[in-house]
Amino acid sequence: MITEKLDRSKKPIPGAPRDVKFPGYFEATLPNGINVIVIKDEKFPIVSARFVFKAGSFFDGEKYGISSFTSEMLTKGTQSRSALEIAELVDYHGAFLSSGCDFDATFVSCYSLKKYFEKIFDITSEVILRPAFAEDEINRLREQKINSIISYKDEGDYLASRIYKKNIYHKLPYSKPLEGTESILNSLQKNDLENFYNTNYKPDNLIIAFVGDIDEARAVQLVEEKFGSFTGEFVNNTVAEDEHLNPEKKVYIVKKSGAVQSSLKVGHLAFKRNIPDYIPASVMNTLLGGSFTSRINKNLREVNGFTYGARSFFDWKKYSGDFAVETEVGNSFTAPAVKEMLFEINKMKNEFVSDEELTSVKNYLTGNFPLQLETPNAIASKVISLKIYDIEKDYYNTYISKVNAVTKQDINDVAMKYLHPEKVTIAVGGNPDEIQKDMMQFGDVEVFDDVE
C-alpha cells in the first residue's frame, strides 16, 4: 500500500518504451507478375485476403464512373454463379466479400474464419477471374448507383467536395466524380465494362495480401492454383496532364436547401504522394490541422466554438494531390471560420513553429506507431499503400528516424512550398441566402443550384 501523500501536480515519468519495429512479412512474385504478400498472425483463427489491382478511376477516360461500376459488378455474378448464389455462399459461412475502387486502385477483399477461408478464397478468385457482367445485373446496379448519386446531394460535404475538386483538378481525372453521373451511367454498356476489365485487371498489376492464420507456403499455393493461368500485361497509356494552381481566391457555393450549417472545403492543388518532402509535409500538416490538438482545430473549436471539429490534410494521390481544410460551421460562422483558417495557414508560412510544438508533434507521430500496428489488417493496409504509390520498401523502417530528423526550417520550407492561402478555392455546401454577402470579402462568389 502506498502511504505517502500523492502529489498530483507531478506528471508521471513514463516507463522505458518497448522497442517498436515494423513487422517483417513474406513476399513473393509469381511468374505471371502477381505480387503475393503474407502477414502471418496466429493469434486468432481468422484470415483475410485483399486483392489490389493498381488501376482505378484515374483510367476512366470520358466514361467516368466505369472503374467503380466494373469493380462493383464483380460480385454480381460469375460465369457459373448468380449474384444471389454468391451472396448466399458468403453469408452462410459468416464471411465478408466486397469490391470497389478509388482513383488509384481497385480492391476486392474477403475475410472469414480460418476453417472456411479456402472456400471463400475460391469464390473470390472466381469473381475476379470470371465475372459475368450480366445485363440484368448491370441494369440493377445502374439504377442503384443513380439513386445513390441523387441521395448524396442531401449532404453538404458532398456538394462542397464536388465543386472543390471540379475547380482545382481541372482536366485531371481527379476532378470527376468517382461514381460517375446519371447520364454516363445510363450510357454504359456491357462491352464498356468488359473493355475496362480486360485492359486493367491484369496479373502484373495485381497484389494479393493475406493476413492472419495462414502459412506462407499455403498462401502461395492457393494463388498458384487459382491464378496460375491468369495472363496478360497491364499497359498504362494514360498521361497525367500537368496541372496548375488557380490564379486567385474564389468562392463557390452549392445550394443545400434549408441548411443551418455550411460544409466548408478550402484548399488548392498540391502534389502527388511519392515526393521526397512527404514526411516533413505530413509533420507540418499534423501541426496545422491534422490532429485534435492542431492549430486549426484549436482555433476554430477550442477558442472560437465555430464547429464540432476542423481538420486539414494533404490528399495525396498517385499522380497529383491537394491540400484542404474541412469543417462544418453554423451559417453565421462561415466567413469568420474561413478567415481563421487563412490566418492559420499564413501564420504557418510566416513564422517558425515553436520547439515545444515540434517536440510534441514528433512524440505523437513516432509514439503513435504501435497503435497504428495493433491489428495485422492495419499492417497490411500500410504495405499495400506503399505498393500502390511506388514508395520505397523500407519506408516504415526508417519512418521514426525521418520524423525525428525534421527541423523547424524544414517545416517552414514545406509550408512555403506547399501552402498557398492566396490561391485557395473556397467551396461551400450550404445556404447562399445566409452566407453569400459575407463571403464576398474573399473574392468572387459563384452560386450553383447543383453540381455534377
Partner: protein, 420 residues
C-alpha cells in the same frame, strides 16, 4: 480455439470497481473509465447536460489545464475520447504500455476535481450546439432518433436523446457543472477497466496510488424508469430537406442483456441485413422498391427499440414496401425456419465474436457495459454460447410477441415540396 478472456477484479475501499485483463499481444494498454450517469439522469429543463458535461471533463482539472488531457495523451502516441449514452458516460485512452501511469494520473485528476472557467464552459456550449447542428439538425433524416425515442418511450427517462435541447444546454451554469460532477463523478459510481500489456500487481498499486485517495460520498437517488406500452400504432409524416423518401418502423423490445437481445440477432440477419436476407432479396433485388433496407436494435439498460429502415427508390411506393415488410415479419413468425438458416447465423455470430476480441478498445468497451449494466465482466465469455442456444421456437415466439402482436411507430420522411 480458446477465446476466453481472463479478468482480475477487485474494489478499492472507496468502492471503485476495477477489472484488469492482461493481454501481451502488443505493447499497448487501454484504460476505460465508465460512469453511471447519462441522459436518463438529467433533470427536466436540463436535457443534454450529461453529454455537455462529458465535453467539460476535457476542459481542465486541478492539475491539468484545458485541452492538456488530449495533448498529453497524443504526446504519448495515444488517443483518447469519450461518449455519452442514456445510462452511462465512458472515457478511454489507448496508449503505449509504458504510459499506463500517465493515463491513470489524467483520469484520476478529473475524477477528483474539475477546474472549469466560465469562458471554457461557454466555448464548449458552442461546440456542443454545433455538434447538434452537424449530427442532427443539418443531417438528412437527422431527427429520426429523437422522434422515435419520444414515441416509443413516452413518459419514461428515455423519452429524450443524449444531445438534448439547445435551450437547456445554454442554461447550464458553472455551478450546475460543479454540482453535476460532485454528484455523479465519484469512485463508487464508476467502473475502471484496464486491458493490455500490464503487470497485474504493479497496475493494482498504481490504481491505489491515483484513485485510492479520492473519497466522495454522493447519495444518488435514481429515478424510476417507468414505461407504458403503446396502445395504438403511431404514424408521423415529416417533410425534410431530402431527395428520397425514407421510413423508420420501430418496435419496443426488452433492454440490453435480455434473452430477446440474443434471439433478435437471428431475425435481423435473416430478414433484413445480409445481401442474402429475405427482405433484401425481395425489396432491393427483385422488386427494386427500395434503395436499401436494414434494421438494428438499440438496447440500453432498461429497455430497447428495434428500428427497421428503408430508402425508397424514386417513383416507387413507400406504402407498398412497408406492407411487404410487415407481411414478411408476420410470415417469419408463423412459418418454418429451416435448420440451414439457423446454422448460417451461428456461423456469422462465431466470426463476429472473434472480431470483438481483436483490439483492446473493443474488449474494454464491451466490458464497461457488462460491468455498468450487469456487474458482470465475464459476460463477454458467455456470449457465444447464449447465441448458440437460441432455438427456432424462441425466435418465432419473440418475433410474434414483440412485432406481430405489438404496436409500432412509423416515421415517413418525404421531400419538402419547395425542394429545389
Amino acid at each position: 480455439m480458446n477465446t476466453k478472456l481472463i479478468f482480475e477484479e477487485f474494489s478499492l475501499p472507496n468502492k471503485l470497481h476495477c477489472v484488469l485483463h492482461k493481454n501481451t499481444s502488443n505493447p499497448l494498454v487501454n484504460v476505460t473509465l465508465g460512469y453511471k450517469v447519462g441522459a436518463k439522469d438529467e433533470e427536466p429543463g436540463q436535457f443534454g447536460v450529461a453529454h455537455l458535461f462529458e465535453h467539460l471533463m476535457f476542459e481542465g482539472s486541478q492539475n491539468i489545464p484545458k485541452s492538456e488531457h488530449q495533448k498529453i495523451v497524443m504526446e504519448c502516441g495515444g488517443r483518447t475520447n469519450a461518449f455519452t449514452m442514456q445510462d452511462a458516460t465512458v472515457y478511454y485512452e489507448d496508449i503505449p504500455a509504458n504510459f499506463l501511469e500517465t493515463a491513470l494520473w489524467l483520469e484520476s485528476d478529473r475524477m477528483n476535481e474539475i477546474d472549469l472557467t466560465e469562458e471554457n464552459l461557454d466555448n464548449q456550449k458552442k461546440v456542443v450546439l454545433e455538434e447538434k447542428l452537424q449530427r442532427y439538425d443539418n443531417a438528412p433524416y437527422g431527427t429520426f432518433l429523437a422522434k422515435t425515442m419520444k414515441h416509443i418511450f413516452p413518459g419514461s427517462l428515455y423519452e429524450h436523446t443524449t444531445i438534448g435541447e439547445a435551450e437547456h444546454i445554454k442554461n447550464f451554469s458553472r455551478q450546475d457543472a460543479i454540482d453535476f460532477h460532485h454528484k455523479y463523478y465519484s469512485p463508487a459510481n464508476a467502473e475502471l477497466l484496464i486491458s493490455g500489456d500490464i503487470d497485474i500487481e504493479n497496475t493494482k498499486n498504481l490504481i491505489e496510488k491515483y484513485f485510492g485517495g479520492i473519497n466522495k460520498s454522493n447519495g444518488i437517488i435514481r429515478k424510476e424508469n417507468k414505461f407504458t406500452e403503446l396502445t395504438e400504432d403511431i404514424t408521423e409524416t415529416i417533410e425534410d430537406n431530402v431527395m428520397l423518401e425514407k421510413f423508420y418502423i420501430s418496435f419496443k423490445i426488452p433492454g440490453a442483456g435480455s434473452t430477446e437481445e440474443y434471439i433478435l440477432e437471428y431475425f435481423t440477419k435473416l430478414v433484413f441485413n445480409n445481401k442474402s436476407s429475405r427482405l433484401y432479396k425481395l425489396l432491393v433485388y427483385d422488386k427494386m422498391l427500395l434503395k436499401n433496407i436494414s434494421s438494428f436494435k438499440f438496447t440500453i439498460q432498461d429497455a430497447g427499440v428495434y428500428i427497421i429502415l428503408g430508402t425508397v427508390n424514386p417513383g416507387k411506393s413507400m406504402a407498398e414496401a412497408q406492407k411487404i415488410i410487415l407481411d414478411e415479419v408476420n410470415a417469419f413468425a408463423e412459418g418454418d425456419i429451416p435448420d440451414y438458416d439457423m446454422q448460417k447465423i451461428k456461423n456469422e455470430l462465431e466470426f463476429s465474436h472473434v472480431n470483438k476480441l481483436i483490439s483492446l478498445n473493443r474488449i474494454n468497451v464491451a466490458g464497461v457495459f457488462n460491468r455498468l449494466y450487469f456487474k458482470d465482466a465475464n459476460k463477454i465469455n458467455d456470449e457465444l454460447s447464449r447465441y448458440n442456444s437460441v432455438t427456432k421456437e424462441d425466435l418465432k415466439n419473440t418475433v410474434k410477441k414483440y412485432f406481430t402482436d405489438a404496436k409500432k411507430v412509423v416515421l415517413n420522411y418525404v421531400p419538402k415540396k419547395d425542394k429545389k
